[in-house]
């Protein structure tokens, strides 16, 4: 890859780091966010110059559609609805990572008939799994805060067992998919399991704990972006994804402490109502 493009990615990564650092302080927070947005612009421009000119049209169309929707939501939303908006955007980010990883995997294994190696295969499976879980988990968090579904913890018997079995199922589906790459059914099964697990993991958690859950899911979407970086062999995705993944975990812990709850307690669910 071109050295100028790599250099632009480096600049973008540095801007993200400075941006997050500045967002720790009230006075500098807005500048920090703008610096990080500038970093994103640099990364996007550096990527767009790499594409073939024929693809530019549809890329532009997708970007215009996405920008219009994003701007519309961000202008319309009430200040009190902020956490649920973050959840919604986060869900989109997770689904985007899933789509990028499966697009690359599908192209290589189904359309070009290639065999992907264990490194790219594992990264793609992880990206699909984390991205799918982040998507449905975030949508449930959004719906709970929104009041579209009850904020009360929804529990059923043997819930943790079902989750565990699904997790094992996901690992099995991923391993079998990588061993039989020409057969697409296993990778589709992995997508399905990740989506279902995302729902089941978040529904037992009470509405009062949702901000913590959203913060954790935000961290997950960073990890999904990071694993997508391994699929595409792209540094800027790995750096930014890891930054968000790690800082998201720390922020989640800080938020838990502020609410006097332990993270384990929140994740096991069912207590959220008493905390309100």
């Amino acid at each position: 890859m071109n050295i100028a493009i790599q250099f632009a990615y480096l600049i973008a990564s540095v801007l993200f780091i400075i941006g997050i650092k500045k967002m720790n302080k009230t006075k500098e927070a807005r500048t920090g966010n703008q610096l990080s947005a500038l970093g994103m612009l640099v990364a996007i421009l550096a990527t767009v110059v790499q594409v073939q000119s024929i693809s530019l049209v549809e890329i532009l169309i997708c970007v215009v559609i996405g920008s219009a929707i994003g701007l519309y939501i961000s202008v319309k939303v009430e200040m009190t609805q902020m956490p649920e908006m973050v959840a919604l955007f986060n869900g989109f980010g997770g689904l985007a990572s899933l789509a990028v990883a499966s697009s690359d995997y599908w192209l290589k294994t189904q359309e070009l008939g290639q065999h992907v190696g264990p490194i790219i295969g594992t990264s793609a499976a992880l990206s699909i799994f984390i991205g799918g879980l982040t998507f449905t988990g975030s949508i449930i968090a959004f719906l709970k805060l929104n009041g579209k579904i009850s904020g009360k913890p929804i529990m059923f018997k043997g819930q943790h067992l079902v989750n565990l079995l699904l997790l094992i199922g996901a690992v099995v589906a991923a391993v079998v998919a990588l061993m039989n790459q020409a057969d697409s059914i296993y990778i589709i099964a992995l997508v399905a399991i990740a989506l279902v697990l995302g729902i089941l993991v978040v529904i037992p958690i009470g509405g009062a704990d949702m901000p913590v859950v959203i913060s954790l899911l935000n961290s997950y979407s960073g990890m999904a972006a990071c694993t997508t970086g391994f699929v595409l062999n792209n540094n800027v995705l790995i750096v930014s994804g890891a930054l968000v993944g790690a800082s998201g975990i720390i922020l989640t812990q800080i938020m838990c402490k502020a609410m006097n709850r332990s993270l384990m307690n929140v994740l096991l669910g069912g207590f959220g109502q008493t905390a309100s």
Partner: protein
């Protein structure tokens, strides 16, 4: 991917993760939501991958459509995320 490049990427991953842990130290509670929203916008960096996925092959392939879907979603995440964060932080300044 060769093992050598995997090792370099893993170095990048480990160092960036450590940096992420260190960057968040004493955040005042009022900044929790903006910080979450701002870092969520950064995780929209997957837009880079989406653009590259859109670059593949012609129409009519699953991978192309997945790439275009990813690009729309990632753009919503990036643009909406930064715009919403900026709106929140703008409110902050007025209150002070």
């Amino acid at each position: 991917m060769s093992l050598e490049s995997l090792i370099i990427l893993l170095y990048v991953l480990v160092l960036a993760s450590y940096l992420g842990f260190e960057l968040i130290s004493k955040v005042p509670p009022t900044l929790h939501t903006p910080l979450m929203s701002g870092s969520n916008a950064i995780s929209g960096i997957t837009i880079v991958g989406a653009i590259l996925a859109c670059n593949e092959l012609g129409y009519g392939t699953v991978s192309k459509w997945l790439g275009m879907l990813a690009l729309i979603l990632a753009t919503i995440n990036v643009v909406g995320g930064y715009a919403v964060t900026d709106r929140m932080l703008k409110m902050f300044k007025k209150k002070k």
